[in-house]
Amino acid sequence: MATKVVMEALSPTMEEGRLVKWLKNEGDAVKSGEAIAEVETDKAIMELVARADGILRKRVLGEGTAAPVGQLVGVIAGKDENIDALLGGAGAPAAGAAAQPNASAQAAPAEQVVAQSKETTGASSIPRNAAQAQGEASTPPQQKAGAATAPPQAPPPSQPAAGAQPQQGAPTNGGRARSSPLARRLASERGIDLGAMQGSGPGGRIVKRDIEAAASAPAQPVAQRQAAAPRAAGAGDFEDVALTQIRKTIAKRLSESIGPIPTFYLTAEFDLSRTAELRTAMAEMGDEFKVSFNDIVLKGVATALAQHPEVNAHWLGDKIRYHHRVHLGMAVATDDGLIVPVIFDADQKRMSDISREAKELAKRARERKLKPEEYTGSTFSVSNLGMFGIDQFTAIINPPEAGILAIGAIEDKQVVIGGEPQVRKRLRVTMSCDHRVVDGAVGAKFLQTLRRLIENPLMLVY
């Protein structure tokens, strides 16, 4: 049976792939599971693997050419089998991507998706393990194929009996979604994108009940983080939450406004009087008990993140991944540039462990001795330029993370406490937030928790 080879979504962010090299010639026999081409994604070079036995009859896509996800790349068929029907659809995006659900309406008399891929190169983005691959390998190809062959949402080409009301499809009129004035008002208030909706009114018109249905689609609750996460990576380390319409619209609108990551900044000034006391007290107990302000802040951030999984998250394009474990990235300046080693499970570690690990990672970073798995997989990052005398600054988010905290210098400042001017140690932090994931109030609540921890450092041992 003739089968299509299509460009697959090899990462959640991949919209197109460049065919680097064909590994098989037209007329070569291929076996299911055999690599037939190399494809460059936005992250790595991947192999496109045949999933049907047969002859590679046609290489539709030329080497060095990019194709959108879902587009026909080649055809595998029997030696003399007629493949004209399949080639007729060449050029038009076929099934394969969840983003193109209607494409499978152009049903060909053949299996739709036959290529799977496996990552071969691209060490820079190799994750620590499969489960932390940030969506890369989390969806088995079998499932992708299943999704691609799911029933089409578009109506079948043959129309039902005359006079029947089309209940689905074609909700647009000249490109604009047909909708009632009330539905438009409800949608604009709730941030629902009408363009992405099917209406249930006459001729597919979007009416109030459609908006209500969309708005009441269950918002996935962020599961409570378990108190003692197992050290080994597991399936429960994170939770993928499908994007609600409001989330999609926020993402789209804000991205258009500010760039790929719609960032906003929250600045807060913390009082470090008690932290300073703690540090002094510990230093008096001996050199081995010395901790830096930075260590305390790292511990504070890790603890706060554990309490705010809504900030400890990754933006994955079509979903948000809320991590149940806190892997704290710390930006380290080296002669070559910036690198962000990771303190894994930072919230579970004692301050002394964090202190030791931070020092060790910074040292090895400067010596360029970090292994790839030591600088990938962070769920949130911290950048500290306080030692350079920077009062405050904004840090750039390390995607797909949803936020980064920029830590400035600790200064003695005159502040008013209880109506009296006093000199206090003060620290300014600025959090950069990806607005697609973190809304203003969410980020602010996180900083509120962090302030409580940093200003009352005994909370960190609670």
Binding site: A164, Q165, P181, L182, P202
Partner: protein, 473 residues
């Protein structure tokens, strides 16, 4: 025995519209109707009553004609003539339905039908008919048996008001009286009661309206009830609300009773009592119960959203399938069901958007929620109201009573409910029916330019008022 796709039991508004639509869609269709096509609506309800109300309206207008510079001399009112004209209109309309049946090849058998109880677990497929000539026939329904037998007046025996067709009558007899009674008490001040109050008042009867609930037109917005009460009292119609009847004595030439309102008792003796409360669904003689068709607690046939009963093959529409007992509700059900039986996918009946209309003077019409219901549902709403006394067109015709009241959602401006009392209210309501069906907000109602001078401007002004932007007040 003949075979049809669909058999309707009852040729009233629900049945005849359903049957015509079936005919249009190519289904072979039989309607069994014992009286005349058109049912209660055409024969004993809407149509003849409106013909009488038109007579009443002319009588009222003529009484004021001199103000307009039209002297008509001595006015003589003859209820009998008005009644005969009303019957003629009714017959014409019924003939109209007969003509449409012929046009769309719908068969009518005059007689009474009965569902033949199907074997256990089998769908019902046949109907036994006793024709008007006394023949017994059985006919097969291949696709559906539709019960559209309607409802009937039932009197108030529990209040001592058993219908006797002379001194205690129903609307059926009221429509064929040869002359207006000297005095009449109308028990039940719903649409029927208020309409007959209007008619008999215009034809010179001493009318007393008695309603057990605190308001006349109790289902309408209280503002409309109050306004109508004012208008009735102005015309010397006695309105007794929150009333309790007692000591009813039905005599040969009159009826006497005690009416208690707010603690005060009064004796009332009238020539005729018109019982305008209580209708019963016609379910007893049609074989429905025998076939196992389930009824609701109130005795209506229980249907689902596809108008199916619990017995496969049997559907029910119109009054017999439950309130609101309105012709236009039954007609829509008939239409939708016909398309459904023909295999189409019609939009379901929107039971939340069925207008109410009462044709007394001033007319009362409404759609959607009353203000009371908005309060009960704790909706955040705003009210816009415009008086016809501020409307240019109303001033030209001297019909200054009433208002348009629009209740809109405070946040989005959707029309939660609309209530009109005044001349032609029953025509004006449909702008708001369209608005609600299309989910327009008060803003769209205002944006549509309304011609000047028209009564419809009052609708636009009420919409404006709900936004705090009224012009002519």
């Amino acid at each position: 025995m003949a075979s049809f796709d669909v058999i309707f039991l009852g040729g009233g508004p629900a049945g005849y519209v359903g049957a015509i639509r079936c005919g249009q869609l190519g289904l072979s269709t039989l309607v069994i109707e014992r009286e005349a096509l058109g049912g209660t609506c055409v024969i004993w309800g809407c149509i003849p009553a409106k013909a009488l109300l038109e007579a009443a309206s002319i009588a009222t207008k003529v009484s004021k004609a001199a103000e307009f510079g039209v002297n008509v001399g001595d006015v003589k009112l003859d209820f009998g003539v008005a009644m005969k004209r009303s019957r003629a209109v009714s017959t014409q309309n019924s003939k109209g339905v007969e003509f449409l049946f012929k046009k769309y090849k719908v068969t009518w058998i005059k007689g009474e039908g009965r569902v033949v109880t199907p074997a256990k677990g089998k769908p019902a497929t046949s109907v036994a008919v006793k024709t008007a000539e006394g023949k017994d026939e059985t006919h097969e329904a291949k696709k559906a048996i539709v019960i559209s037998t309607g409802s009937r007046v039932k009197g108030l025996p529990q209040a001592g008001l058993e219908l006797n067709k002379t001194t205690v009558i129903s609307s059926d007899q009221a429509l064929i009286l040869e002359k207006a009674p000297k005095s009449i008490a109308i028990v039940g001040a719903g649409a029927v009661g208020c309409e007959f109050a209007d008619v008999f008042n215009a034809f010179g009867s001493k009318v007393t309206v008695i309603e057990v609930l605190p308001n006349i037109l109790p289902l309408e917005d209280a503002d409309c009830s109050v306004e109508l009460t004012k208008a009735f009292k102005k015309r010397k119609i006695d309105v007794l609300t929150g009333a309790k009847l007692g000591n009813v004595k039905v005599g040969k030439d009159n009826v006497s009773m005690t009416v208690e309102t707010g603690g005060a008792k009064q004796e009332l003796t009238v020539d005729v009592v018109l019982v305008a409360a209580g209708r019963a669904p016609n379910v007893d003689t049609i074989g429905a119960k025998e076939a196992g068709v389930q009824l609701t607690e109130r005795g209506f046939i229980k249907i689902n959203e596809k108008m199916e009963t619990n017995v496969k093959g049997i559907y029910a529409i119109g009054d017999v399938a439950g309130p609101p007992m309105l012709a236009h509700k039954g007609q829509r059900e008939g239409y939708v069901l016909a398309e459904q039986i023909a295999g189409q996918h019609p939009h379901p009946v929107n039971y939340g958007n069925i207008p109410n209309a009462t044709y007394c003077h001033p007319e009362v019409a409404s759609i959607g929620l009353t203000e009371q219901q908005c309060k009960e549902q704790k909706l955040d709403y705003k009210v816009g109201k415009f008086l016809f006394s501020n409307n240019g067109r109303a001033r030209t015709s001297g019909e200054l009573e009433g208002f348009v009241k629009i209740i809109r959602g405070a946040k989005y401006g959707e029309v939660l409910g609309a209530h009109i009392i005044g001349a032609h209210a029953t025509e004006l309501i449909h702008e708001l029916a369209v608005a609600r069906e299309n989910e327009y907000t008060v803003e769209e109602i205002d944006l549509a330019v309304h011609a000047h001078p028209t009564l419809a401007e009052a609708v636009a002004e009420a919409a404006l008022d709900s936004m705090g932007k009224m012009i002519h007040a």
